[in-house]
Amino acid sequence: MLNVENINVGYKDLQVLWGVSFQVNQGELVALIGPNGAGKTTTLKAIMGLRRPWSGAIYFEGCNLCKAPAHKMAELGIAMVPEGGRVFTGLTVLENLELGAFPPHARKHMAQTLEEMYQLFPRLAERKFQRAGTLSGGERQMLAIARALMSRPKLLMLDEPSFGLAPLLVDRIFAKIQEINQAGMTILLVEQNVRAALELAHRSYVIQNGRIVGTGTSEELLSFEFVRSAYLG
């Protein structure tokens, strides 16, 4: 479904990603794990068209993303949950969700998707007329995920959904992610919280210093000494 082929990405004269390649297949939950500053967020930004790769290519369902403008990604079926549950704090919960359905195909089914989201996250229904800025961290993360799902994506990408949340909340959010995946959604999960990510993912890629340094199922990766020592202590 998603093929990232040998991309080199950087800011001005600082190269961040070095020949990164990976793929995500239909229905999979793939994790991209690595320490802070490894280039995880940059990878997602490159896929979303917010950072253009210097070289290499990104294909989504056979379509070259590098040729599409950034705002077209949502229409093509890619949704991203930005780091730290970034939402439009000045807008209400409902307005955030409505805007999530911005692509034309999603706007047609807005009412229906909205109902689904309220079922998935009942908390949001209670708070729909509240400004998003008044939500707690966990609620914001839920809103960010729901907003992304409002576009009825084929691929959902999450940037550090555990960021800044208490362990109990992390578990709850990750359970939701698993639930969404089991309902058929393809997911690319970017995480620093390796233990939680590996528990969830079918397959994972390990990224370090802008390079993919390992890949495999969770059991395979756990047998890698460096993954264990670096991330699991």
Binding site: M48, L50, H71, F88, T89, G90, L91, F102, R147
Partner: protein, 293 residues
């Protein structure tokens, strides 16, 4: 004495409504795009001339020509945006503000002289059959055209406010103001949002120009003064909300009227500029550009 004072304040409010309308346009453009279009006053001037000529050549009532003036300015706005301002969207904010300000000055020099070549440097105003009529209430005069202008300005400002608050695209505009990157992620074409905001700003300037040419007078060199008025009002309005900016316009109108009453009409412009500098002195970093809502 008291009547003169009240009369002055009434005139100040009536003019202040037009200040508010003009400033709301500039404030919207700045808030959304971070373009400081200092040619805003010239756009207003063009709108005034559009209605002036529609009236003088084809007898189109100025209040009916409002949409035509808006349309003319939409065209001008699209050209300016695509030709010039769109080239700055990728800059970081501070550089964008400064560059667009300089571009705006270039544009204002060109437009001002274009108007002077085409239409001479004379003061013009639209004189309709009802221009001299006014209502009187407790010996206070309310010139009809100015009162209607104020109502029109108020309606336009409320309409814009509702558009931003309630319509789907209005919400997209507010989202873009808050975080353009996030807006792009969910599929909003921020360039289109910028263009729409720029066009709305130009259209509002054009309609304000029409109202100025009915109740007051227009002249090719009016742009700088009106741009400064808009900047002052944006500052007084403070928090960048549409309604707040409009109220800022009313405040400036009254402040000018009181100055004219106290020290003479020659200094009415000075009071606004002094207020502006005063606010700058108190809050040196950043006055406008706070989000709507």
């Amino acid at each position: 004495m008291v009547e003169t004072l009240v009369q002055n304040i009434v005139f100040g409010l009536l003019l202040g409504a037009l200040y508010g309308l003009a400033a709301v346009g500039l404030s919207l453009v700045f808030g959304v795009t971070k373009f400081l279009n200092v040619a805003h006053g010239e756009l207003l001037m063009l709108g005034g001339y559009a209605s002036f000529w529609l009236f003088n050549l084809y007898r189109v009532d100025p209040f009916l020509s409002l949409p035509l003036a808006a349309l003319a300015l939409v065209v001008v706005g699209v050209v300016l945006y695509l030709l010039l301002f769109s080239r700055t969207v990728k800059m970081d904010e501070e550089q964008k503000v400064q560059t667009t300000m300089l571009i705006g000055f270039g544009v204002s020099v060109i437009l001002q002289n274009l108007a002077q070549r085409l239409w001479t440097a004379d003061d013009r105003s639209i004189t309709t059959a009802y221009s001299r009529m006014s209502w009187t209430l407790f010996d206070i005069r309310f010139p009809i055209v100015r009162v209607v202008s104020m109502v029109v300005a108020l309606v336009l400002v409320i309409a814009l406010h509702q558009f931003l608050q309630r319509s789907y695209f209005g919400k997209a505009i507010r989202a873009t103001v808050e975080d353009w990157e996030e807006a792009t992620i969910i599929g909003i074409d921020t360039h289109r949002v910028y263009l729409v905001a720029f066009i709305i700003g130009a259209a509002l300037a054009g309609m304000a120009g029409t109202l100025v040419s009915v109740g007051y007078s227009i002249v090719p060199s009016m742009g700088l003064e009106w741009t400064l008025v808009c900047l002052v009002v944006m500052t007084l309005g403070g928090l960048g909300s549409i309604i707040g900016t409009f109220v800022g316009g009313l405040i400036l109108g009254v402040a000018q009227a009181l100055t004219a009453f106290a020290v003479g009409g020659a200094y009415r412009q000075v009071v606004g500029l002094l207020l502006f500098l005063l606010v700058l002195a108190v809050r040196p970093q950043g006055l406008f550009g706070v989000k709507e809502g």
